[in-house]
Symmetry: C2
Subunit: 167 residues, 2 copies
DNA sequence: TCCAAAAGCTTGACACTTCAAGTAACCATC
DNA sequence: GATGGTTACTTGAAGTGTCAAGCTTTTGGA
């Protein structure tokens, strides 16, 4: 680490300021935009949609709660509440894990699958219009790399390195 | 889940998928990280901190509600609730606008200024560690440009082009 | 075998956001 | 000098997120 945070922090340069503000603006505007789009078309926020996507891609369309929480980058607590809501909608159902009685699977229902099928095209379009259509291939490449670096730095140490039931 | 749907949308390529997921992961992890950091050190979420920053930079440390909402990229409603909370903390106070009786100013109090002074160093450090320290100058440059393009595309049409009381 | 510690998940209370609806003041026009 | 439309902001309820505490089951030794 550098000098100190309590002493004399390295403030952001003007250029860094501009970058940071653009980052904040773009991400909040985009998240808001996608939230509204999905709330309107699917009746759920963006993050809930992400949960369904994770499930549809998983073998058997099911995932252990902890694993789903990790893939979606949210806490277990938040996931519990979210799955409770999605269950109420009939889009996900819980199943007990036979090999570990503490464990729960979140399973995508047929109804949930249909919602996804119906809503996915509009969502991709929204993402394209907001992001990919506005950037060159090079910019996309660099953006992806930058985001991977940032995410890697924030990921809790050996996150997910060893889920016992994945061995 | 490929063919189906009304129009046959252009699905994301594998590379685009990777970029998009990295984007989502990085932004949610970062927002969570900063929220926790500020909640711990300042007792407020990141967005509230952003409001105080906007105020401290404004002439007279005050801003009309609508203008503040625009700068912070949030709805007026959200701002109303947020300012109510910050007012309860004694960090912001409301003032009537003399020239327009519907108008309200949000004003940063001395106490609010002190919070900012106390908390800013740690926040800059957090941003540096999470973002700037991990990217080359070129990556930062491209990231900033990309974010500016995305934000511009999502900005409501002539947003803020003409606030009467700014003329 | 037994038990303390950890893992997996849930719960409830409180904080924050959203949405729709509401109030009050301004303004342009007749 | 009314009046219809717009602007500025607030409110309340319902939805979602966070945090700390809880329960049950599993694990790793003693």
């Amino acid at each position: 680490m550098n000098t100190a945070s309590a002493d004399e922090p390295r403030w952001l340069s003007d250029e860094e300021q501009r970058t940071w503000r653009a980052f904040m603006h773009a991400t909040t505007l985009l998240e808001d935009h996608l939230d509204r789009q999905l709330q309107r078309d699917a009746g759920m926020p963006h993050i809930y949609y992400g949960l369904l996507v994770q499930l549809v891609e998983a073998p058997g369309r099911r995932l252990r709660m902890t694993e789903l929480a990790m893939k979606a980058k949210i806490t277990r607590s938040r996931l519990s509440h979210a799955i409770a809501r999605l269950e109420k909608n009939g889009w996900v159902r819980r199943e007990d894990c036979p090999s570990d009685k503490r464990g729960q699977f979140a399973v995508l229902t047929d109804e949930g699958y249909e919602v996804l099928e119906r809503v996915a095209p509009g969502h991709v379009t929204a993402v394209r219009q907001a992001l990919f259509d506005r950037l060159t291939a090079e910019q996309q490449e660099t953006l992806g790399e930058a985001m991977r670096l940032i995410a890697a730095g924030l990921q809790p140490e050996g996150a997910g390195a060893d889920l016992p039931w994945l061995r």
